[in-house]
Structures are given as C-alpha cells and as structure tokens.
C-alpha cells in the first residue's frame, strides 16, 4: 500500500522536477528584498520609492512567463505534460491570497502601533526553512544540506548584534519610524532565503537538464 501511496505523491513532486518552483520562490523573495532596499533608501516622495509597484509587476511577469517558457520548451518535451486537478488549483490560490492578506494586515497593525518587531522578524528565516523542508527537501537528499544552510543562516542573523543589523537602515528615514534592527533582519533574511531557493532551483534545473533529454520523434 505504501508503494501505491508513494505513486500517488509522484505527480506533486513532478511539479518541481525542473526546479521551476524553487526558482520562482527565489526570484520572488529577492524581488521583495530589492523592493525593501529601494523603500528604505529613497525618500518617500521620490519616483524610485513609488516605483515598487512596477518592480512587483515585473516580478510577477517574469515568474509567470518564465515558468511557462521553461515548462513548454524544456520540461514537457523531455519528461511529459501533466495537468493538475482544478480543485487543488482553485483551493491553493485563495489560500495563498488569504495568508498574504493576514500577514500584510498583521504587519500594518504592528507598524501603526509601533510594536517592536525585532524578535518575531528574527525568526522569519526559520519559517522559510520549514517551507523549504516541507515543500522541496523531502523529495531529494542533497536538499537537506540547503535546508541546513538556510536554518543555520537564519539563526546567525537572529543573533547578530544591533549595530550590524542597523547598518542597512543607516542614513535613511527608517530609524524614526521602524526598528532599524527589524529592518536589517528582515532584509538579510529575505536575501538569504532568496539566494538559497535560487541556488537550490538552479542546481535542480541543471541536474534535470543533465539527466534527461527529449525523446527522438
């Protein structure tokens, strides 16, 4: 029965056989890091500060069309096409949107109430590590090493001294409004997670290209 159950899980794992899901998360996380950098280091009225919406839209377009292009031109011709049940697609999109809304709303409330976010933000990296372990590392042994790097890196970031973490927010408008430490931790965690997901996705993609080839027609 276990073998049948594992067969039922295979199509889910196939979704990331080419590393596209990891690459997408990596691009998304690094874009958020870029947006945060731009927001912190530009004045609130500058054009750069207001351009973050375009950066976000650019990211969405890159992820959407990039994933589609890789699947259409590389994955499907090499190892086949799979269409997933509509019910899971219908459920996952609103669920992701709901989680995003809750997080954004929570952050807005926290910022408006001048709560000190240093502590919870310090452990945000561990959340990324858990997501990575559950979503990607379970299927392949070498990805546990990437999980280790992500988890250890997150813990190091969490214990870095305030002066180091505050460098990011130096000479910006942040210290007057937000905790410089929280801003630094948030940015470093996004960078670490983004790079880890991107590297992991790139290795997966490279291994996929190396071990597969399109069948002769």
């Amino acid at each position: 029965m276990n073998q049948i159950d594992s067969l039922l899980e295979r199509p889910k794992a196939y979704c990331n056989i080419d590393g596209v899901s990891e690459l997408s998360v990596g691009v998304m996380t690094l874009t958020f890091a870029l947006i945060q950098w731009v927001q912190v280091h530009t004045t609130r009225n500058s054009a750069w500060h207001k351009s973050t919406w375009f950066i976000f839209m650019g990211m969405v377009a890159i992820i959407h069309y990039g994933s589609k292009a890789i699947k259409e031109h590389i994955t499907y011709p090499r190892t086949g096409y799979v269409e997933y049940p509509k019910s899971t697609q219908r459920l996952s999109a609103p669920l992701a949107a709901a989680i995003a809304v809750v997080i954004v709303a929570g952050l807005s409330v926290a910022v408006r109430s001048y709560w000190d976010l240093s502590m919870p933000v310090s452990f945000m990296g561990l959340l990324f590590a858990v997501i990575y372990a559950r979503g990607f590392a379970r299927t392949v042994a070498w990805k546990w090493a990437m999980f280790g790097i992500l988890a250890a890196g997150s813990l190091v970031i969490a214990v870095l001294p305030v002066d180091v973490m505050g460098i990011l927010a130096k000479d910006s408008w942040v210290p007057g409004v937000l905790s410089a430490r929280a801003t630094g931790v948030f940015w470093l965690t996004l960078m670490l997670s983004g790079v880890t997901f991107l590297v992991s996705g790139a290795i997966t993609f490279w291994l996929y290209l190396r071990h597969t080839q399109a069948p002769a027609q």
Binding site: M1, I4, L7, L8, Y76, G80, E83
Partner: protein, 98 residues
C-alpha cells in the same frame, strides 16, 4: 470464506496487474497527463505501455485523446469516472486484505 481472502479474490484484476496499477495510480492524482509522462514515471517501454492503456481503455477506465502540442503529436490520457471509482474500490479492498 474468510473476509480477508474474499477481499483478495474480489480485487479488480484489470487494475491489479503491476504495470496498469502504476498507470492508474499516476492518473488518479492528476487531471490529465500525456503518454511521455507515464512512460517516464513508470519506466515501461512504448509497446508495453500502449498495450496496458488499450486494456484500460477497453475496460472504460481511461480516456485517450490524440492531439497536437504546437506541431508535436500528443496523446493525452485521463481516468474516467468509472476508472476513478474502480481504483478507489481497489485501494479499499487492498487495505482490508492487508
């Protein structure tokens, strides 16, 4: 007859064959998949996979649609409602038998 033995005796033989069981289990988890995907995942050769698919189609468990993806011919496969029901029954009986 012992109920466990009866469950084994009542197993759907069309699905119980290992090659077809792999195909049905893979298709159960997706909406549709193409021939190449099933070949990659099962490791069966074209001829063997084709014959299993023909048997499943004959039984009304699998629906085969031939078409094109761009200029490349593509054979799409999906489980019919009868195929889904048969696989669920098969799993239930296997669980009871083991």
């Amino acid at each position: 007859m012992n109920p466990q033995v009866r469950n084994i005796a009542e197993l759907d033989r069309v699905i119980h064959e290992p090659g077809r069981l792999m195909v049905v289990a893979l298709l159960f988890a997706v909406e549709r998949a193409d021939f190449l995907y099933l070949q990659t995942e099962t490791g069966l050769n074209k001829g063997t996979l084709s014959s299993h698919l023909s048997r499943l189609e004959e039984e009304g468990y699998v629906e085969v649609t031939k078409g094109y993806r761009g200029k490349v011919p593509q054979t799409l496969l999906c489980l019919t409602p009868a195929g889904r029901k048969a696989f669920e029954q098969y799993r239930k009986k296997m669980r009871a038998a083991l």
